[in-house]
């Protein structure tokens, strides 16, 4: 069963050309194992074994040659790790510094999962592409497919092909040797005729045209992005884009004043929003800052004030009111140019300020400090004012401010 097809092609060519390999067919597992061992023993290296299923004895014999492939994978993994770290550093710490729950912009623990993933991804891609590259793939066809008997390789036959590149290769002697090893047939396999290596004639042009066409949409997008146009944009679903209603700031043709929205009747006040008590709501009496509280102060009230102060104020003004809260400290650390340091609440100016004025500052903000009127209810704002007063007094307390029991204890401590 020699390759009759090849012979019929051109006798002259076949005589000149050497076969690229010899393909020996075996009928049993034992046969192929015996033959592989024998070939291995002779010292042949340029051969391949094809079987319909893995045979451990053979994969053990044919130990993979150690190539630089493993270093290639290792380097792929390393480059994955490097790319991941650089990416995270660039996006999160350099190009757009983004603070996440007080962690440093570039912190290794947070970066490890991404680094790990990219290391795996790059090693996997490196392995895949490396196998293609080092294995000389993709290869559209292999000469062994020219043999008709080889079709049974996925079914019930076992094959050994010995390449002509093998130094000891001799078409006749090697063939005899294979037959003596129990091969049922040995085919001489010839390379493909040169014409089969050529690409179909139109293919390069077709590809070139396709590539050129593929550039058109991209070029169009680039063009449109770079200039303005008086033509309104395309509206694919017009009745969704243009609904029969007036949007905010749109002009109405129905009302004389042209407003889309009706104004409430002059003097309208929402329920509970009257707020005519100037003292309570704005901290003013007859236009001047109030010096008194609009309500009676209890210990509980001041405690409430302390609680609110620690939530809303202490981040900047600090728990002690000296203006060293964590936000202020952080801003100083980062040397933020636009940052106005928060007031020291124990300054003479702040201490001299009327309670109504402090209430107003909390409500409407001052300098960099935002208005807290919408966040803190009126009563709580007054509680904070009361606590601020207590805080100020605590820093300049006299002995008389302290209860009798405490006084004794303090005096005892001073003596001791």
């Amino acid at each position: 069963m020699s390759n009759s097809k090849k012979v019929s092609l051109s006798i002259q060519e076949a005589q000149v050309e050497r076969p690229v390999c010899l393909l020996a067919e075996f009928e049993s597992v034992a046969g192929i194992i015996r033959a592989t061992k024998a070939i291995k023993q002779v010292g042949f290296r340029h051969f391949d074994v094809y079987t319909p299923f893995p045979i451990h004895e053979i994969s053990g014999l044919e130990r993979m040659r150690v190539t630089i492939f493993r270093w290639f994978i290792f380097l792929s993994g390393l480059s994955g790790a490097t790319v991941a770290l650089l990416l995270q550093w660039y996006t999160n710490a350099f190009n757009y510094p983004f603070l996440v729950s007080g962690k440093p912009y570039f912190s290794l623990p947070a970066n490890i999962p991404i680094t790990f993933e990219l290391t795996i991804l790059f090693s996997a891609l490196g392995t895949f592409l490396g196998i293609l590259f080092f294995g000389g793939l993709p290869r559209f066809a292999h000469p062994v497919y020219r043999s008709n008997v080889f079709k049974r390789v996925t079914n019930d036959r076992f094959f050994i092909s010995i390449d002509a590149t093998e130094p000891a290769f001799d078409p006749i002697k090697t063939k005899d040797a294979l037959l003596s090893l129990g091969a049922s047939t040995v085919d001489e396999i010839y390379g493909f005729p040169p014409s089969t290596y050529l690409l179909p004639k139109g293919l390069p042009y077709t590809l070139l045209i396709l590539v050129a066409i593929a550039i058109v949409p991209l070029a169009n997008i680039a063009l449109i992005r770079s200039k303005s146009s008086p033509v309104p944009r395309l509206s694919i679903i017009p009745d969704m884009d243009k609904q029969q209603k007036l949007k905010a700031q749109a002009e109405s043709t129905l009302f004389i004043d042209g407003r889309a929205m009706r104004l409430p009747v002059a003097g309208t006040i929402a329920r509970g929003e009257l707020r005519e008590d100037d003292h309570f709501y704005r901290g003013k009496i007859n236009g001047d800052w109030a010096t008194t509280f609009p309500l009676t102060i209890s210990e509980e009230f001041i405690k409430r004030g302390q609680n609110r102060f620690e939530i809303y104020c202490a981040t900047c003004h600090g728990l002690d009111g000296y203006g060293h809260g964590s936000t202020a400290k952080r801003a100083e650390e980062l040397e933020q140019a636009t940052w106005v340091p928060p007031s020291n609440l124990h300054d003479a100016t702040v201490r001299a300020r009327q309670v109504g004025h402090i209430f107003n500052t909390i409500t409407n903000g001052i300098r960099n400090m935002p208005a807290y009127g919408s966040q803190i209810p009126v009563l709580d704002r007054w509680a904070i004012v009361a606590y601020v007063r207590a805080l100020q007094r605590s820093q300049r307390a006299k002995l008389e401010d302290v209860s009798l029991e405490m006084r004794k204890e303090l005096e005892a401590r001073r003596k001791g």
Partner: protein
């Protein structure tokens, strides 16, 4: 082919039981171990350092227990996966189950010293603390004791089951025993998972009763899995140097053990990092307390040693096939990992004793060697009596031919 292998088998297995010289010291060793433990106890009580003694005792206890737990895991996994490559060395792992019995007895001092070791035994503290009060339904001495007894009953019965059937097969040549073992190993693995996890919760994690981490058990498991492969590599090499397995135990067996060792080192790091990162990111006070103790002050040095010694060095060292197929190199790494595993257990337990680092001193050394002597003697007790290889396992042939087949 089969014939030649059997001849090989007969030649190298001619003397499968350890010769008298090695085994005879077993009783003496055990006595030395008990002596060392009593001595360190007496010395520490006179020096007023009972707490220190108990913590080092617990460290040594957990270390050697983790090795035996690793062996239990190894054997069951081999049976469940019907692995044949490992049959040659399976008996060594089966012998490592022996310490369970002595460790059960050695757990009594922990129980007696629980009042000193565990904060949650303090009744006055529980009454004043809502968190401990809430946990007291689980963390109380009677229930703790009951659980401890349960764990050891499970481990000892399953160990006896696995070892006994395997030994019976040596004589009866019944291949059905292999099937029974394979069938029973799956439920044993489930039991193993639960008992190991809750053991680590009870005996180790509860040292800091306010803190908890659900991955703690997996972390402990990862450490014991690393150490069993390290131990099997080291023991095989020792036995081979004594003249056993010669010519039978191939580098391919070591290579396989090395691959598992390498894999579990990565697994350990993965679990350790998973535990760390979630706590680090959330930064919640009651969760960070564990790492706060270990990452600040002098304990941070130990943390760094573990990161580098338990992961980075063996990872880079064992990554190549070359390293895993050089026996001496592999054994060096195995011994290194066994030491690092001790540092790991030490790092888990000792920071609960002292805020500053406690360098392993006389108490640590004497407890470790005491445990070591007792555990080794229990191991030798079996080694002296039974074959080092499950000679009549129906798949032993495949294990012997592993080098050709792989």
């Amino acid at each position: 082919m089969k014939k030649s292998n059997l001849q090989l088998q007969n030649a190298s297995f001619s003397d499968l039981v350890l010769r008298g010289k090695i085994g005879k010291g077993a009783l003496l060793l055990a006595l030395i171990g008990v002596g060392l433990l009593t001595l360190s106890f007496i010395l520490s009580t006179t020096a007023g350092q009972v707490k220190h003694f108990l913590f080092s005792y617990l460290t040594a206890f957990c270390y050697f227990l983790s090795l035996s737990l690793g062996a239990l895991f190894f054997i069951c996994v081999q049976h469940v996966t019907k692995a044949s490559w490992s049959i040659l060395i399976r008996r060594i792992a089966e012998f490592i189950l022996a310490p369970f019995v002595v460790l059960a007895i050695l757990s009594i001092p922990i129980l007696l010293g629980a009042n000193i070791l565990y904060e949650w035994t303090d009744k006055a503290l529980i009454a004043s603390d809502t968190i401990l009060k809430g946990k007291s339904a689980y963390l109380n001495l009677p229930f703790f004791t009951a659980r401890g007894v349960f764990y050891f009953v499970v481990w000892i019965t399953t160990s006896i089951f696995l070892l006994r059937l395997s030994l019976i097969q040596d004589k009866s040549k019944d291949p059905g025993i292999t099937l029974t073992l394979q069938r029973m190993s799956a439920p044993i693995l489930i039991l193993f998972g639960f008992t190991l996890t809750f053991f680590s919760f009870d005996f180790m994690m509860s040292l800091e009763p306010y803190w908890y981490s659900t991955i703690y058990g997996v972390y402990f498991f990862a450490g014991s899995a690393v150490s069993i492969f390290a131990l099997l590599i080291a023991l095989s090499a020792i036995l081979e140097s004594l003249g056993y397995f010669r010519g039978v135990l191939k580098i391919d067996h070591y290579h396989n053990l090395g691959k598992f060792l390498f894999g579990f080192i990565i697994f350990w790091a993965y679990i350790g990092f998973s535990q760390f990162m979630l706590i680090w990111y959330a930064n919640i006070t009651e969760e960070t307390v564990f790492f706060a103790k270990r990452f600040h002050g002098s304990w941070s040095i130990v943390s760094l040693i573990i990161l580098i010694g338990h992961f980075i060095i063996p990872f880079l060292g064992l990554i190549s096939r070359f390293a895993k197929r050089r026996k001496q190199l592999l054994v060096t790494f195995a011994v290194w990992m066994l030491v690092m595993h001790y540092v790991d257990i030490y790092w888990l337990i000792m920071p609960e004793f002292s805020g500053g680092i406690v360098p392993p001193g006389l108490i640590e050394l004497s407890t470790m060697f005491g445990f070591f002597a007792i555990v080794v003697s229990s191991f030798l007790y079996l080694v002296r009596r039974y074959s080092l290889v499950p000679v009549n396992d129906p798949c032993l042939e495949k294990s012997l031919r592993f080098a050709e087949l792989s």
